[in-house]
């Protein structure tokens, strides 16, 4: 046994145990760790935004830059400042302007990428071609995929009641969805177990030195 003498390892280990104590029941140790975590989270995010966004992207180009274009930065500053209008009872409607710009820009960037990366690739992968039937396994998988995509799309079709043929197809779709969820569940649980192993290694190796 080779217990760590590093004060930060001790702090991390004790906070880990405080959080795990929640598994027994709510207690003052958990409350302490919870409030500390929330407080540090708020402080850390604020500092991170300040030094990773405000200083390099706004302050430095505006104050230390030489390009005359830098004054255009005042426009996003003013738009961003409208976020604070939420505190005004009279002018809080102004917050809609930065939110609208944010949503518009975000959608404009995300939608074409989703089309290319998800929809087109899914459509191309679903259309059955001769080359897919060169091997029995690939051919069979392609048919399973084709039925799955169509049935799942029918399940998420909201303009028609799930009755008759549509209802039966949607039922096939929900089977596909549940099989996918089952696989995803198992895969993620395995990943979470590896996180737990990591924490146990920290406690037993870095802190207590019981295991090598």
């Amino acid at each position: 046994m080779n217990i760590s003498t590093d004060i930060w390892v001790w702090i991390a280990a004790l906070l880990t145990l405080f959080i795990y104590s929640f598994l027994y029941k709510d207690n003052p140790f958990y409350k302490f760790a919870e409030h500390l975590f929330i407080g540090i989270g708020v402080g850390y995010t604020t500092v991170l935004l300040w030094f990773n966004s405000v200083i390099p992207k706004l302050w430095n180009p505006l104050v230390h830059g030489t390009s005359p274009m830098r004054f255009f930065l005042i426009i996003p500053i003013l738009i961003g400042a409208l976020m604070f209008s939420i505190f005004s009872k009279k002018n809080n409607w102004l917050i809609r302007i930065p939110i609208a710009i944010y949503i518009g820009a975000g959608s404009g960037l995300a939608i074409p990428l989703d089309f290319e990366g998800l929809i087109f690739e899914q459509v191309k992968g679903t259309i059955l071609t001769k080359s897919m039937f060169n091997s029995f396994i690939v051919g069979f998988s392609s048919i399973v995929l084709f039925i799955g995509v169509i049935a799942t799309l029918v399940y998420f079709y909201f303009s028609k009641e799930h009755k008759g043929f549509v209802g039966k197809t949607a039922r096939v779709g929900i089977f596909y969805i549940m099989i996918a969820f089952g696989a995803s569940f198992g895969y993620t649980v395995m990943a979470r177990v590896s996180l737990l192993i990591g924490r146990m290694q920290f406690l037993l190796h870095n802190w207590l030195g019981i295991i090598k």
């Binding site: 929330i38 989270g41 929809i119 459509v123 001769k130 995803s184």
Partner: protein
């Protein structure tokens, strides 16, 4: 042999096509695998020395300089090392610029116009007659009233837990519509409602939503702003905070709505451990299995958006759901036609006519 190789070599630098600017491509023409190393140096015309930028790829014989300033002219020097000699070539001046239109993404534009057309058309229809557009009822919606009712009977508060996405996420906007329905019921039954928020802007929107719902049922005096809680912008700090609140307040009903990440199961398990009836809704496909395992009712993916359209009958959301429905129908028909087309093309190709097969392959390449 080497002399012939050297004589056939040339280097060219050009603005990287179809990009947003800031990039210049340097290509060595005439190489055939004998290259040992290729170094690219850049001079910005104002400097006297060349600065090393990177290495030429030994497979594509190209280097993409992503650190160029738009409109500024550069000279490039390329040093090519072979087994027994080194060759230095110069190229330029060349400058980078942004292109307004990327022709390789025309298919995206066409599909975007078709899909946006569906959405805009249905928004117009919804504005004229929102009741005329049919959206099927989502079973989990009935559970909202049931959950709040059960919570009231038990004399326990109702929890509404927002996901980790901001106000720009469609799932968050749908969550706010569901929050409004929950708030109305809670106000009606005079049960306490606690809303936890990860994002400060979502918190402001939540506060307004709940306040409005209380006002609509004439119970504005019961609205308590302190119950709309902001915790932190840190994922597991938020999780720890929500878990602590759940254990202490012991809710009878828990709504988990929005976009969740790894914290989904921790939150749902805590809600389950306090015996609350839980209704989750998220567009995060990776987290849905956990909600399905630990919650009583789940709105799967787009069902969250459809549910909020069903409740709110708000023209933009209703039109969007109807528009995306027709988008899905379009995709199903497109896949079906694609399969039929590919089958006919294959049959004709076997019989010696390859025109349809070539057309099919060209189309798939364009897509």
């Amino acid at each position: 042999m080497m002399i012939l190789l050297i004589l056939s070599l040339s280097v060219k630098a050009f603005d990287t096509p179809n990009d947003g600017g800031g990039s210049i491509t340097i290509e060595v023409v005439g190489l055939n695998g004998d290259l040992k190393n290729g170094y690219v140096y850049r001079n910005s015309m104002e400097d006297t020395t060349f600065e090393l930028r990177g290495l030429i790829s030994r497979t594509s014989y190209k280097y993409v300089d992503d650190g160029a300033e738009n409109g500024k002219e550069y000279l490039y020097k390329v040093e090519l090392e072979f087994d027994d000699t080194t060759l230095t070539l110069f190229t330029g001046p060349v400058s980078a610029k942004a292109q307004w239109y990327d022709p390789t993404r025309t298919s995206v534009l066409i599909f975007l116009i078709i899909f946006s057309g569906f959405v805009l058309w249905f928004i117009q229809l919804a504005r004229k007659n929102p009741e005329g557009l049919f959206i099927r009822k989502i079973p989990a919606l009935d559970a909202i009233d049931e959950a709040v009712g059960r919570s009231t009977e038990m004399g326990k508060p109702t929890f509404f837990i927002h996901g980790l996405s901001g106000i720009t996420d469609a799932g968050t906007l749908a969550a706010l519509t569901i929050l409004r329905r929950v708030s109305s019921k809670v106000a009606e039954y005079e049960t306490p409602l606690i809303v936890t928020n990860y994002d400060p802007i979502v918190m402001a929107a939540s506060s307004e939503t709940v306040k409005q719902a209380y006002a609509e049922v004439g119970k504005i005096d019961n609205f308590n702003e302190k119950n709309i809680v902001y915790l932190t912008y840190e994922q597991f700090g938020y999780t720890a905070g929500v878990d602590g609140l759940m254990i202490r307040e012991n809710p009878g009903a828990v709504f988990l709505q929005g976009y969740f990440y790894a914290e989904s199961l921790i939150l749902a398990e805590t809600g389950h451990s306090v015996g609350a009836i839980q209704i989750a809704g998220t567009t995060a496909a990776t987290q849905l299995p956990f909600f399905i395992a630990a919650c009583d009712y789940v709105l799967i993916g787009e069902e969250t958006l459809a549910a909020s359209s069903y409740i709110g009958r708000e023209p933009v959301m209703l039109g969007s759901v109807k528009g995306s429905d027709y988008g899905k129908l379009f995709i199903m028909i497109f896949i079906g036609i694609g399969v039929i087309f590919a089958t006919i093309a294959t049959i004709l190709n076997i019989k010696g006519n390859s025109i349809l097969m070539n057309a099919f392959n060209t189309f798939m390449g364009w897509l």
